[in-house]
Structures are given as structure tokens and as C-alpha cells.
């Protein structure tokens, strides 16, 4: 509960911050400190210090996984603020508002990681989505940004409608929004339940951009100001997965076998389309959008397998994927040319940027000794442990091999090709932070349990 209240309050604080001061460093400072506070409050919540005792009437339920995920999402956002906060200034003048909107998104994330009632799910998803529509269109004078915002908004609204329809059907069948009520006694899928399940599956697939509901993603991510794409493609996306798995485990865990195949087909399609399309991209930013679809395919493994390994793996995946992608976007933001050629010869001019970026790309490709490898390892072992979907595992592995191609294209451009390197201004702190993140990625790749053990140790101090 700490996170939900404090993030909402921080959002309001940031809005007022914009009224009282025009100093950009001050606004950024407030945001960074505020987020740090939020992170600490959430960690304390894990340890049993609840600041707010609100009677939620069973609408929300705070469990380990939800709180753990919040911690990771907030920490990732904090790193994102540190790395890319300065770049937000280039988007427009309303710096404080951007931070405020991001805090509202975090509030939504805290809700979707803890909902126990379908109404709260709907509320959480909407709280996440609406600020994102605005952030996507925040580059007001750029037509592409406007187009992306409109597209994102229409698609998002449409999928929200589908989701509401699904919730309604479930309510009709079971007479409650509460997930426990829906779950209990659901041993077979009646037509009404099945319809509700399908609609929810489609709606959530929209939100996490699973194929064939992914068409909005590349355009929205490409059109949005890059600094916000970074946020959307990482933290928001994995939050969608937490909601997805929470919803389906909570409501339909008992009938898992009956929709597993459908989920597996969506997963396979997501992996296939995401990876194959990413191969043909010419812009790194667009490649990263498709790569986010491809990575979503791997995160969907958690939904297909749905066991403890998978849930733990999803948390790990969230951390590994977010760290690496935020790092790459932070470098990308400093570039003026987003094509692969733009990266030519980066290693000569900016060895630190190139080296850290290489580690992030290796992590995304899932090469051992990086965090990304363990993320994939968790997912694959969860699916193999489940045992029903071996074909999906093989598809996943082959797609992971394809992904090497487009991630390595960036590495090749940076190291093996000569080009006119762009002028890039970076501060010492920026480079230092990138090195720290890269070190964390490698450390997690060698001692994967370190992070999770550390976080677990906070529970009930």
C-alpha cells in the first residue's frame, strides 16, 4: 500500500513543483529524491512496515511477488531518471509534468502488481495507459509523435474496451469481480467463461504487444520521444506481464491446461514475428521496438508454464531486460542518427559507451555470463519443467539464435566499421553509471541468486 499512496502523492508534488520553480535541475532533483523515497518505502513495506492501513475490502492483496516486482520497477525507473532525466528536457518545456506523469504510471504499476479484483486491474491498466498516451505525444510539434500518440490511444482504448467486455462476461458468469471467487469452482470452461477468458487474453496481449496484437508497438515506440520509449519499452512492458500472469493465475489457474495451448501459440507467434522482423530493421530504435516484442515472447513463457520457476524467472527477466534496455536507450539518446550506420566507429570515439553497450546487447541476446542468459534460462527451464510444450521451447531457442543477428549488428557497427563518429556529449557521472549497470549485469550473470536473495532477505526483517 505504501507504494500506491506515495507514488500518487509524488505525482501531485511534481505537478506543483512545476508551478513553483522553473529551475530544471531542481525539478529533476526533487523527482530523483522522491523516487528514491518511494523505493525505500516499498522496501520497508516488504519488511513489514506498512505506513498506511487502509481497508481495501479484498480489492488488493500484497504478496511477495508483487512487492518484489515493485522494487525492481522502481529501482529501474530510478536508474532511468539518473541516466536519461536530463534528456527529457530536450522533449519540451513541461519537465515537471513529465515526471508527474511517470509517477502516475508507477502508481498504476503498484496497483496492477497487487490487484485482487478485476476492477482494480482495469483501474491500474488505465492509470498506466493514460499518462503514457500523453507522454507518447509530448513532442507536440513532431507529426510522428502525434501520430504515434493517436495510434496508441485508439489501440489502447480499443483493447481496454475488449478487456471490460471480458470482465463483464466473467462477472455475468460468476457474479463477482473478486479473483478468488472466479477461480473457485472453475473446473470447466463454460461458453461464457471461455468468452471472457479469450477477451481478457486478447486485451492483455494488446497491452504487452504479443503477436498478433502487436501492430501498434513499433509505430508507437518509434514515434514517441526516445526518452519515453525507453520507459515504455521496459518498465511499463514488464508491468503488463506481471498483471497478465497475476490475472490468469488468479482467475484461470485451475483450468490452465485448457488455455495453455492458445497461450503457447501466441508465444510462438510473438517470438517468431518479433525476431524475424527485427532482423530487417534499419533503425536501431525500431530494432529495439521489435526486440521488445521478441523479448515479450520469452516473458510469455511464464504464462505458458505458470509454475514457481516461471514466476521467479519473470521477476528476474524484468530486472535483466529493463537494465539492459534502459542502458542501450540511454546511449541511443545521445546519438543524433538512429540508424545502424550511426553507430559506426563508436568504439573509437567513446570506448566506454561502446563497451557497456556491448555488454547490454550480449545480455539481451542471452549470452552466458550476463543477466539475460539467466533470464532465458529461467524461462526455458520453467517450460521444460512443465513438460507440455516442448515444441515451444525449441521455437524459443531457435528464435534466440536469430536474435543474435540483429543484436550483433550493433556490436559490429560499433567495433568493426569505420565511420564518422557523431559528436557525443557525455558526463563523467553518466559513464560511471553505465559502467556500474554493466557490472551489475555481469555480476547477475555469474551469481544470479544474489539479487533475489538480497531482496528476499528484506521480507519481515
Amino acid at each position: 500500500m505504501n507504494a500506491i499512496v506515495i507514488s500518487a502523492v509524488l505525482g501531485v508534488v511534481m505537478m506543483f513543483c512545476g508551478v513553483f520553480t522553473n529551475s530544471k535541475p531542481a525539478v529533476r532533483f526533487v523527482a530523483i529524491i522522491g523516487l528514491l523515497g518511494l523505493l525505500i518505502a516499498n522496501v520497508l513495506d516488504m519488511g513489514g512496515y506498512h505506513f498506511f492501513n487502509v481497508n481495501v475490502n479484498g480489492m488488493l492483496a500484497f504478496d511477495i511477488f508483487g512487492l518484489l516486482f515493485n522494487t525492481i520497477a522502481f529501482a529501474a525507473t530510478w536508474i532511468y531518471f539518473l541516466l536519461s532525466g536530463r534528456d527529457m528536457e530536450r522533449v519540451g518545456v513541461n519537465l515537471a509534468e513529465y515526471f508527474a506523469l511517470i509517477f502516475f504510471v508507477l502508481c498504476g504499476i503498484a496497483i496492477v502488481s497487487a490487484f485482487n479484483s478485476l476492477l482494480m486491474l482495469f483501474l491500474g491498466i488505465e492509470i498506466i495507459s493514460i499518462p503514457l498516451y500523453i507522454l507518447t505525444g509530448s513532442d507536440k510539434r513532431n507529426l510522428k509523435s502525434n501520430e504515434a500518440a493517436l495510434k496508441y490511444f485508439l489501440m489502447g482504448a480499443f483493447s481496454t474496451g475488449i478487456m471490460l467486455m471480458g470482465i463483464t462476461l466473467l462477472y455475468g458468469a460468476k457474479g463477482s469481480f473478486n479473483m478468488e471467487v472466479i477461480r473457485s469452482g472453475t473446473t470447466t470452461l463454460t461458453p461464457m467463461l471461455a468468452a471472457g477468458l479469450l477477451l481478457l487474453l486478447f486485451a492483455m496481449s494488446f497491452k504487452v504487444s504479443a503477436v498478433p496484437f502487436h501492430f501498434w508497438t513499433p509505430d508507437a515506440y518509434d514515434g514517441a520521444p526516445t526518452v519515453f520509449t525507453s520507459f515504455m519499452a521496459t518498465i511499463v512492458k514488464v508491468a503488463g506481464f506481471i498483471a497478465f500472469i497475476r490475472l490468469f493465475e488468479g482467475c484461470f489457474g485451475e483450468v490452465h491446461k485448457q488455455w495453455q495451448l492458445l497461450a503457447a501459440i501466441i508465444t510462438a507467434a510473438t517470438l517468431f514475428i518479433g525476431n524475424i522482423t527485427a532482423v530487417f530493421q534499419q533503425s536501431v530504435k525500431r530494432m529495439l521496438s521489435y526486440s521488445s516484442i521478441a523479448q515479450a515472447g520469452f516473458m510469455l513463457f511464464a504464462l505458458v508454464a505458470m509454475n514457481e520457476t516461471a514466476k521467479e524467472g519473470l521477476i528476474f527477466y524484468a530486472a535483466a531486460y529493463s537494465l539492459a534496455t534502459i542502458g542501450i536507450f540511454a546511449v541511443l539518446l545521445k546519438m543524433k542518427d538512429y540508424t545502424f550506420e550511426g553507430f559506426n566507429g563508436l568504439a573509437k570515439r567513446q570506448p566506454v559507451l561502446a563497451a557497456t553497450n556491448t555488454i547490454f546487447l550480449l545480455s539481451l541476446a542471452g549470452i552466458p555470463a550476463t543477466a539475460g542468459f539467466w533470464a532465458k534460462f529461467y524461462m526455458l527451464s520453467a517450460a521444460i519443467n512443465n513438460g507440455n510444450v516442448m515444441w515451444l521451447v525449441i521455437v524459443g531457442v531457435l528464435c534466440a539464435a536469430v536474435s543474435v543477428y540483429y543484436y550483433f549488428r550493433v556490436i559490429q557497427a560499433m567495433y568493426f566499421k569505420d565511420g564518422e563518429p557523431q559528436e557525443i556529449e557525455t558526463s563523467r557521472g553518466f559513464k560511471g553509471l553505465l559502467i556500474v549497470i554493466a557490472a551489475v549485469v555481469v555480476l547477475l550473470g555469474i551469481f544470479p541468486h544474489w539479487l533475489i536473495n538480497q531482496l528476499y532477505s528484506f521480507f519481515y526483517l
Binding site: 555470463a369 531457435l398 567495433y415 568493426f416 551469481f447
Partner: protein
């Protein structure tokens, strides 16, 4: 502990090289050389010290070192060495030293990073040969891949990026399939043993399969990874590109060591973990091996690019390995181990020669060479030795290896063995063609004649020549060392 030290020194040496060579390139090279020499001396010294106490003839483990790494998954840092591993380790570091030496002058830019990659590849290869935890094995399998990719992609020839990509994606696909197979094995083992999750090789050896279909699928996962590396014929496609585009040391390591990891994997893991399943596909594997022998030889004969030619001879020679392994005869398996050694030395030497020629003539096209014997009699004579080794002349190591393999395989499948022997005739064709086109005939180069071998090149070639002649004249020590492992393997698979 010595095994950890051996790998650790390469990893640390690589890093120091990288850091030091930015200022002092020569120091970087020296550090690299010293690191590999120490890594070579460690197992040799250890062996010399304990040789009298050891009985290598039995199937016992000479060194065993185990610490926990990630206990939650049952992953341990488990290194162990038996006779087979010992032989492979020796080969690794012998070729490792030579690869440092032969890139002494060839590499002019980014020296530090080059030697970093070289040493890390060697560390990965050494790790593969001693890792007894399947997860750790996979880990090393990948560790050798990424630096090798950089070696090809940065210091390779004209078409290097394409070759590096192809190499990486082929092996990565295989590696991931192997990872799946490892995971499947891991879960099956855990189910049988009441949830005791472990990746340990010795524990997994006890896994039994209730049906053959599962066993066969898991076995195929391993086998595909290994035969891609080996390479077996329909999956050999990456090899000519990678070998011909890589820098000399890269080709040496690729041909001499990386291919051997595939063969080692089959012998160590596929045959022992899945005896029945591998027996059931044995005939097909032998068939593909024979196809590889003939097809590789024919393609080698058709090449005009010297390095590509030698690369295809590797395909042909590795066909013998496949034939020998899946014959499941003790004598054939002995031959396979010999083949791994001798092919590593002889083909490695040919690649080094090709590299030296390229350094002098700036071409790999054998149509532009010819008559070089007059200018370089020493190199010509040495090339003669290895060309003869490659075609299987008695008294040179390769003859012993191929002879043992054919002898063992004949009992199992006379028809395939006869075809394979015919492949030896083809090997004479392509080998002699190297000699004729490069060293004999009309002198093609009009400019000043190239210089003969330098002292450094003499050291490289002399050590390789000594090794191949020694293996040809007195192979018994090698055969004795692997005897224990091979005999047990042949017994359990019959």
C-alpha cells in the same frame, strides 16, 4: 586446484594483456606468451611430479575439484581430468603457444584486445575439456564462442564479418539446443531421484529413461551441437568461411581445437549418457561420417583458395572421427583420439603455412602461387611433411589414427569402411595438389622472391613436425593414457 589455476591464469593473463598492451604492445605479447606457457607447464609439471604414482590405465580420475557455484540450481564448479582430458589439454596448450607465436607479427592493431580474445578462447576450450558439470560445460562452450567471434570479425580477411556471423549463429543454435537437452536431462534426473536437482555429470550418468523416444530426442540435442562443431556434412557450412577468413592463429585454433571440442563432446557426453540411444542411430552417424569423408575430399580438390582447401580437408578428416566413434570398438575409439591429436597438429600446421604464404604473397589463391620451392626450400620441405601427414603416409601420426579407425570400423560395417578407405585415395589427390600448385611448377611471382622461414617460424614448424613424427613413430603413450576410458566406453556400448 591446478585446473582452476590453469584456466584462471589464461583469463587473468588475457585481461592484463589488454590493459598493458595499450601502452606497451610488446609487453602485451610477452604476457600472453608467458601465460600460455605457464598454463602448459602446469599440467605437464603436475604429470611429471606424480607420474610414478598414477595409474592412468584404469578409468580413474586424475584430478577432481568441486566447489558450489549456484547451489539453488544444483550447479557446481566441478572440474576433473582423466586421461582423455589430459591429452586434449596438452594439445590445447601446445597449439595455444604456437598460436600466440604465429600472430606475433601478423597482428598490428589492437594487439591487446587480440591477445585477450585469444587467451579467453583458449581458456574456454580448456574449460570444455575439464568441466564435469553440464552447466559449467555449457558455460565454457559459450565462453570460447564470443572471443572467437571477435577474432574472426576484427582481424580476419576481406569477408570476415559474414564468416564471423555464420560461425556464431551456427554454433549458437547448436549450443542452445544442447542447453535444452541439458535442462531436459536435469529435470528427468530430478524426477527420478526425488527432486534432487543437479547438473553434475557423474550424477546424471545414472539417469535411466523409461522410453527410448525421450532419450533419443535429448541425445539429438547434444549431438546436433557437437556435430555442428565437428562438423558433420549437412551442417559443415560455416566451416570453410570461418576457417578461410580467420587470421592464422584463428584458423589454427579453429581447426586444431574447436573442432575437437565437438568430437570430445560426443565421446564424453553422448556415448556415456545415452548408450542405447546412440547405438540406435550409430549406422546413420557412420554413414554421414563416410559421406563427409568423400564429400569433403571432393570439395577440397575443387578449391582454388588455399585456406578453403585445407578447411575442406578438415571436413573430410572429421568424417573419420564420426565413423570411428559410432563404431563403438575400442580400437576405433583409440584411433579417434589419435585422429583428434594428429589432425590438430597436421591441419594446424597447414593453416600456419598458409598464413605464412599469405603474409609473403598477400594472396590465398593457389593459381597465383607456384614454384616456391626454389625460393623457400625449407618451407617447402616442411609443407611436404604435413601434406604427407594429411594424406596418411605411414610413420606420420595421421596414418596410425586412420588405420586404427578403419580397422575398428571394418568389423561393424565393411561396406562403409571400404568407401571410407577409398576416401584416402582422394586425400592423396587433394594433398598432392597443394604441393604441386604451391611449391612446384612454374614460378608465378615476378617480384622479388619471398623470404624463407624466420627463426620464430622455425620454432613453430619444428615443434609441430616433431610432434607429428613422434605420434607416428611411437603412439603408445597416447594410447595408454586414454586406454582406460576408451575400454570402458567400448564395453558399455557394445
Amino acid at each position: 586446484m591446478i585446473l582452476v589455476l590453469m584456466i584462471g591464469i589464461l583469463l587473468v593473463g588475457g585481461l592484463t594483456c589488454w590493459l598493458v598492451a595499450q601502452r606497451y604492445p610488446l609487453m602485451g605479447r610477452l604476457i600472453a606468451l608467458i601465460a600460455v606457457i605457464i598454463a602448459f607447464l602446469l599440467p605437464v609439471g603436475w604429470y611429471a611430479q606424480y607420474a610414478s604414482e598414477l595409474t592412468v590405465t584404469g578409468n580413474n580420475w586424475l584430478i577432481d575439484y568441486q566447489v558450489n557455484w549456484i547451489p539453488a540450481f544444483g550447479i557446481s564448479f566441478h572440474l576433473a581430468m582423466d586421461g582423455l582430458s589430459f591429452i586434449m589439454i596438452l594439445l590445447t596448450f601446445l597449439l595455444g603457444m604456437l598460436s600466440v607465436l604465429c600472430s606475433w607479427n601478423e597482428v598490428r592493431e589492437k594487439t591487446g584486445f587480440y591477445f585477450f580474445n585469444l587467451l579467453w578462447t583458449l581458456a574456454g576450450i580448456a574449460g570444455v575439456f575439464v568441466a564435469m558439470d553440464l552447466f559449467l560445460f555449457y558455460f565454457f562452450w559459450e565462453v570460447m564462442l564470443v572471443p572467437m567471434y571477435f577474432l574472426i570479425a576484427i582481424w580476419g580477411d576481406f569477408n570476415r564479418r559474414y564468416a564471423a556471423y555464420k560461425f556464431f549463429i551456427f554454433t549458437q543454435t547448436g549450443g542452445l539446443l544442447m542447453l535444452l537437452a541439458i535442462l531436459a536431462l536435469y529435470f528427468i534426473h530430478a524426477q527420478q531421484n526425488g527432486g534432487q536437482f543437479t547438473f553434475d555429470y557423474f550424477a546424471l550418468l545414472n539417469t535411466t529413461f523409461d522410453n527410448n523416444v525421450t532419450a533419443r530426442w535429448i541425445m539429438l540435442g547434444f549431438l546436433i551441437a557437437f556435430v555442428i562443431k565437428l562438423p558433420m556434412v549437412p551442417l559443415h557450412n560455416w566451416l570453410p568461411d570461418a576457417h578461410s577468413e580467420a587470421p592464422t592463429a584463428g584458423s589454427l585454433i579453429l581447426a586444431g581445437l574447436l573442432l575437437k571440442t565437438g568430437a570430445y563432446g560426443i565421446i564424453r557426453f553422448v556415448l556415456t549418457l545415452f548408450p542405447e540411444a546412440s547405438a540406435s542411430i550409430a549406422w546413420w552417424a557412420m554413414l554421414l561420417g563416410v559421406v563427409g569423408i568423400v564429400y569433403g575430399a571432393l570439395l577440397a580438390f575443387a578449391q582454388t583458395d588455399l585456406k578453403r582447401l585445407i578447411a575442406y580437408t578438415s571436413v573430410s578428416h572429421m568424417g573419420f572421427v564420426l565413423l570411428g566413434v559410432f563404431a563403438f570398438r575400442e580400437i576405433a575409439l583409440q584411433g579417434v583420439v589419435m585422429q583428434l591429436l594428429t589432425h590438430g597438429v597436421s591441419t594446424g600446421a597447414l593453416f600456419v603455412l598458409a598464413g605464412m604464404l599469405k603474409e609473403r604473397l598477400h594472396t590465398r589463391d593457389i593459381n597465383q602461387m607456384g614454384g616456391l620451392w626454389t625460393a623457400m626450400p625449407h618451407m617447402g620441405a616442411l609443407a611436404m611433411v604435413f601434406v604427407m601427414a594429411s594424406l596418411g603416409l605411414p610413420f606420420l601420426g595421421n596414418f596410425i589414427a586412420e588405420f586404427l579407425i578403419l580397422m575398428g570400423a571394418f568389423e561393424v560395417s565393411p561396406v562403409l569402411t571400404i568407401i571410407a578407405s577409398a576416401g584416402l585415395v582422394l586425400s592423396a589427390l587433394y594433398s598432392l595438389r597443394i604441393m604441386q600448385k604451391v611449391f612446384q611448377g612454374q614460378l608465378q611471382t615476378v617480384s622479388e622472391p619471398p623470404k624463407d622461414l624466420s627463426a620464430r617460424e622455425w620454432i613453430i614448424m619444428a615443434s609441430l613436425t616433431a610432434t607429428i613424427i613422434f605420434l607416428g613413430l611411437y603412439p603408445q603413450p597416447v594410447l595408454d593414457t586414454v586406454q582406460g576410458f576408451v575400454a570402458q566406453l567400448a564395453r558399455s556400448n557394445l
